[in-house]
Each structure stands twice: as structure tokens, then as C-alpha cells.
Symmetry: C2
Subunit: 364 residues, 2 copies
């Protein structure tokens, strides 16, 4: 691992997106979204993914300077056509619109069609916090997950994020894939040559497996819960709901038709919609209760749960968002560790645009 200063990585990302043709404001917000993923420990969705976006742009599957357009709206809803832009750009744009609508109507809900991968779901949801609003964010994604009783890869890891403000306590932030684990955790086991627990994946015939490489052998990820006996059908329900909200409400591709993020896979034939889809929501707290009362109650909620009696083992009870926030503080101070492979990829990427990536930072 090589450690990099967070600001250095962000500046480099802005340069790459700008070189690709992103308008300045869009390059900045897209870079911030990747940077927050690195700071919060979602390494798979940070700067490591930068070259993936560039490759999609090279294939013209991604538009660096989209003209985003609201194609339908009501007082509390809108559909945004993302013009095949970066999801890192279309989703924050949609979230801003949701926040504006919530200011007037109490809540705002924006479905996005014709978009691309939007980074970490939590980034967009957290935009609502400073407005004393609850933020909600979901997206569909390349199909890797099999519905319960099936071996067809029909759903993405389809994440849900919910960010809720508190008063003196840090905000409550859920950011979770609707699968048992994220793909990144499988990759960690692969590198270590370790087996995966049952319930994470199944093999190509739909049998339970502990093979951490099963996904690369035609297997599929399992919905949260794992098999039917352990509630996997509920994870399937959640992933399906995210797919429908993100894509059937917006007019994007759904289920097996969702275009892959990786550039070496072709998008499926006979598209049923436009690009991939997101669903963003903002709920103004004082559309229900005075924000101060609500946030005091959230403080009590968080304090109570954090002090729940712990079970055997050293682990404290956590509030959603705790681990990411702690890591963020640590990485802002000590830097972001990147794999040698990611570093090589970033250097090569710079070569395309004549931008230098300096990898002489500390090595761990």
C-alpha cells in the first residue's frame, strides 16, 4: 500500500475529469464524491474507480458534459434525464432538486434516468443533512445478484442510503448494499486466499459455496440474508424495490438490462430504458416536527443505542455511520492507502491526458 494525501488525490481526480471534458463545477463535485468514498473507507468506490469512468467515456458510453433536463415534475417529484452523464454528477444535481422541492412541498423525490454509476450512495443522501432534512439515495447497478431460488444474475448490489440529522450527536447515516456483503469484501478474501462464509455467494448452479472466487466462475452474489432459511428473500425484496424505484419509475434500464460498469462487457441488447437509474429523496424535518425537537430526540435515540448492553466480545454497539466517520477523521489526518495496482493504473491514466501522477508518497 502507498499512502496519499487526500487533497492530492482529489485534485488529481478533478484534473482527470476536467481533461475528459467535464465542466469545472461538475468535475469538482464528481471528484469530491470519489474522495469521500476513499475517506470513508469504501475503497472500491473511490479513486480506484476513476479509470473505469474514463474507459466508459472513451467508448462513448458516458457523456462528460451532459445537458441534464427535468422531463416531468409535480410539486414533490421530478424525473431527471441525466443525458448519459456521470452518476457522480447527475445524482447530486437530482438531490439538489429534491431539496428545493422539499423546501416548498415538505418532501422532494427525484428519479434519474439515462445515468451512470453514481459512487457511494451515502454521499448524495448526506447532502440533505445541512438543510435539516433526511436524505435518501438509491441506485440500481450491473447485475451480479441472483433472486432467491434462482441462479440468474438479475439484480445489482442496489444500495440504499439514509442520512438523518441529530443535534449534538453526529448524524445517523446508513449506506448499505442490499446484498450480504459488498463485492469489495470478496476481493479482500481473494487476495488473502481465504474462503468466504456461507451466505455470501452461490456457485453457477445456485448451490451454496464458500469459494471466494465463485463470482468469477459464473456464480452470483446473494441478497442480504443469504438463503431462504436465513431471510435471503427479504434481501431480494429490498434489491428489487431499489431496482423498481430507480429504474421503472424513471424510465431507465432495470433487472438484467442494466448496463455494466466495466468497459470490457458490452451493454445488453434491446435496452428497455435509458442508462442506469437512481432515486433521490429529501424530507424536510419540520414538515413533520420542529427540527430542534426532532434532533433532540435523535440525540436521545443515538445515546441510548450506543450505550446498549454489549454482548460477549469487545465490540461496542455502533450507530450507523460511526465506522465511516471515524475512518474519515483518521484518513484526513494520515492519508489514504492505495494498492500498488491502483497507483499504476492512476499513472497510466494520467498518460492518456498528459497529467502527471506523483507516486513518491510514503510507502507502507
Amino acid at each position: 500500500m502507498i499512502i496519499f494525501n487526500s487533497e492530492y488525490l482529489k485534485d488529481y481526480t478533478v484534473k482527470i475529469f476536467s481533461a475528459m471534458g467535464c465542466p469545472a463545477g461538475q468535475a469538482k463535485i464528481a471528484a469530491d464524491c470519489l474522495n469521500q468514498a476513499d475517506l470513508r473507507g469504501v475503497d472500491s468506490h473511490g479513486v480506484a474507480r476513476l479509470s473505469g469512468y474514463v474507459r466508459l467515456w472513451q467508448l462513448k458510453r458516458l457523456n462528460a458534459s451532459p445537458e441534464m433536463k427535468v422531463i416531468h415534475e409535480t410539486p414533490s417529484t421530478a424525473v431527471l434525464d441525466g443525458d448519459l452523464g456521470l452518476g457522480l454528477v447527475t445524482a447530486p444535481h437530482a438531490m439538489k432538486l429534491a431539496i428545493e422541492k422539499a423546501r416548498i412541498a415538505g418532501t422532494g423525490w427525484v428519479a434519474v434516468q439515462n445515468s451512470n454509476h453514481y459512487g457511494i450512495a451515502g454521499y448524495h443522501a448526506m447532502m440533505a443533512l445541512e438543510h435539516d432534512m433526511i436524505g435518501i439515495s438509491m441506485t440500481n447497478a450491473s447485475p451480479l445478484v441472483a433472486p432467491t431460488f434462482s441462479k440468474s444474475r438479475f439484480l445489482g448490489t442496489n444500495p440504499i442510503a439514509v442520512a438523518i440529522p441529530a443535534l449534538t450527536q453526529p448524524p445517523f447515516v446508513i449506506d448499505m448494499a442490499t446484498t450480504t456483503v459488498a463485492n469489495g469484501k470478496l476481493e479482500v478474501l481473494q487476495r488473502k486466499g481465504m474462503d468466504a462464509p456461507f451466505g455470501w455467494t452461490q456457485d453457477k448452479d445456485g448451490n451454496p459455496t464458500t469459494d471466494a472466487f465463485s463470482l468469477k466462475k459464473g456464480g452470483s452474489m446473494l441478497p442480504l440474508g443469504g438463503d431462504r432459511e436465513h431471510g435471503g428473500h427479504k434481501g431480494y425484496c429490498l434489491g428489487a424495490m431499489v431496482d423498481i424505484f430507480s429504474a421503472v419509475l424513471s424510465g431507465a434500464n432495470f433487472g438484467p438490462w442494466v448496463p455494466p460498469f466495466v468497459s470490457f462487457l458490452e451493454p445488453p441488447q434491446n435496452q428497455v430504458g435509458k442508462g442506469i437509474g437512481h432515486f433521490l429523496g429529501a424530507i424536510r424535518i419540520d414538515a413533520f416536527r420542529p427540527a430542534l425537537q426532532f434532533k433532540k430526540d435523535m440525540d436521545l435515540w443515538i445515546h441510548t443505542f450506543r450505550n446498549a448492553e454489549t454482548s460477549a466480545g469487545p465490540q461496542q454497539v455502533l450507530i450507523p455511520g460511526d465506522p465511516e466517520r471515524e475512518l474519515c477523521i483518521e484518513r484526513q489526518k494520515n492519508g489514504i492507502p492505495l494498492h500498488e495496482q491502483v497507483v499504476a493504473d492512476l499513472i497510466e491514466l494520467g498518460g492518456i491526458f498528459g497529467i502527471e501522477f506523483i507516486a513518491d508518497a510514503e510507502t507502507e
Copy 2:
């Protein structure tokens, strides 16, 4: 088991609620909600629960003729004070309000405080379907579930329901507890003297257990996913979100302060809100896309997933709502089976009000 005609049970339920003092319209909708639970196979939330509501009413913990009041609203939101009424009454009332708001504002979101147990979550969500709307329903509940890494019972089974209309296909209906399993499934194992799979519950010290009676020995249910390794922290996130939406947004009791449904347990001291809380939502489809287009895409979604390739084993891939709908058709035709104990309880209940329950139907 004794088999009863569905209409007979519903009529009896109306009589009991009426005798308790429910206005006619309210008694009817409350009875319909319990009846739908029986028809859809959620036996724990059907007529078997009728005596529980009556016992709460006898203790004055439930108001049979509530004056429900909107205490705050915006174009797309409202907070309803349920006046300690049956959740079976306050939730449908709130859902109607959400539907009215969605007609004008595109979406409608109603948080309910000062309520009681609301039956099956799916009943309320499904009210939106005939209006070409998506219905959403959630509620908090008596604490039985431990947050990840804890042995404190701080959350209820906190269900989420989402009902989405299709065109020629039946609707897509999620109705799920945010725990690995519902309590009713543990009771089935208890009756059969069988062990529970790992991941369903933990013992009073927070250790994994297969003891189906663990909950009765001070243990707790586990959030969807089970332990941390299998994603249980995500189930904890979902249960927490339901608690906050239902109760912190509405001003009801949350977490460990949620009053118990069972009359033999006293509500916790120092209440932090009023009664239990619900959160109901309605999303008008054509606030996003023309309803016909959306419903055609839902038909394609459902058709595609139902025909996904099955894994080893005889089980077809299911669409959320399939099992409940099939059972509903069967039970409408062949009747609803009730345990002898439930029947005895219903006869005794009738005695309180001088209403006869006739148990001479077919015995199985």
C-alpha cells in the same frame, strides 16, 4: 386445527370491535385488516390477535373511539395524532390522507403518533394500488430485537411494506419484518419441538443459539442477516430506520420505550413520546411517468424475474406477494384454519360481550 369461513370470522370481529365501542366504519376496516392477515397466511396478525386488542382496551391502553387529528401538515406531509386508537384504524386513516396528498403534490407522507399495533403492514400499503400509486407502510413495535453487538432488546420486528401496481400481472407486494424471521415462525418450531437455524435468535448473553425458546428465556431476535459476518448490521440499520421514521418523525415512543402489545407487560416508565408510531406513504405513479407505461414495464419486470433460471431444487422463482396471494385465493375458497387454543380464546372473548362464537365448523 378448525376451519372457519373467512366471512364468518370477519363478521365476528366486527361485532367484537363494535361491542368495544368502535364506530361502525372503524370496526369494519379494523376487522378487514385482521381478516386479510388470516387470508394471506400471517396467522399471528389475524383474528388470533383480537383478544389482545380487547385486553389493551380493558386496561384503557387503547381508545375504541379515537378522535384522530392532523396536528401538522405541508402539501406532501402530515402528522396524525391517533388518540390512542387501534392502529388498524389510525393507519388506514393516515394512508387515505397520504393518498389525498399524493393526488395534489405527487406524493403523500403521513407519520402517526399515539397509536397502537396496526396489524399487517401490507394491508395499508396495498390501499394505494387501486389509485395507481405505490404504497409504503412501516411501524415500530414492542422491543424484542437486539442491535448488532448488543444483548439489549431495543427494536421491534419493525416491518416494511411496499406495494407497487402492475398492468396484467398481479401487484408486487413486499411485507417483511426487518428481522431474520417473524416471531410466528419461532412459535411453529416451539410447537414441533424443533431447533431454530443459527441467525434467528441469540441467548440472554448475546451468544448465538439454536434454542427456539431463547426469546422466552431473556434472549432476543436478530436483525435480518443474523450476526455481523452475515450482514446483521444491515438488518439493524433497517429496523432503526423504521423506528426513527415511525416514531421520531411523528413524536411517538421509540426504541426501548415502545409500549408492549401484550397486556401483561406494563409500558415502560418515563415515556419519550405518545403511543407507538407508524409511517405511511403514497407515490402517484404519474408524478413520474404515465401510469400505463410504468405498469407495462412492471409487467415485463415481473415476467422476467418469475422466469429467471431456477437453481437446484423444485422451487420456482417468486415475485414478492406471490405466496400470500395464492394462499388468499385458497383460504377464501376453503376457509381459514385456527388453532384450538385460538378458538377457545375467541369463545371466551365473546363471553365478555355476550356474543356467541360458533365453533362447529369442520375440524381438520
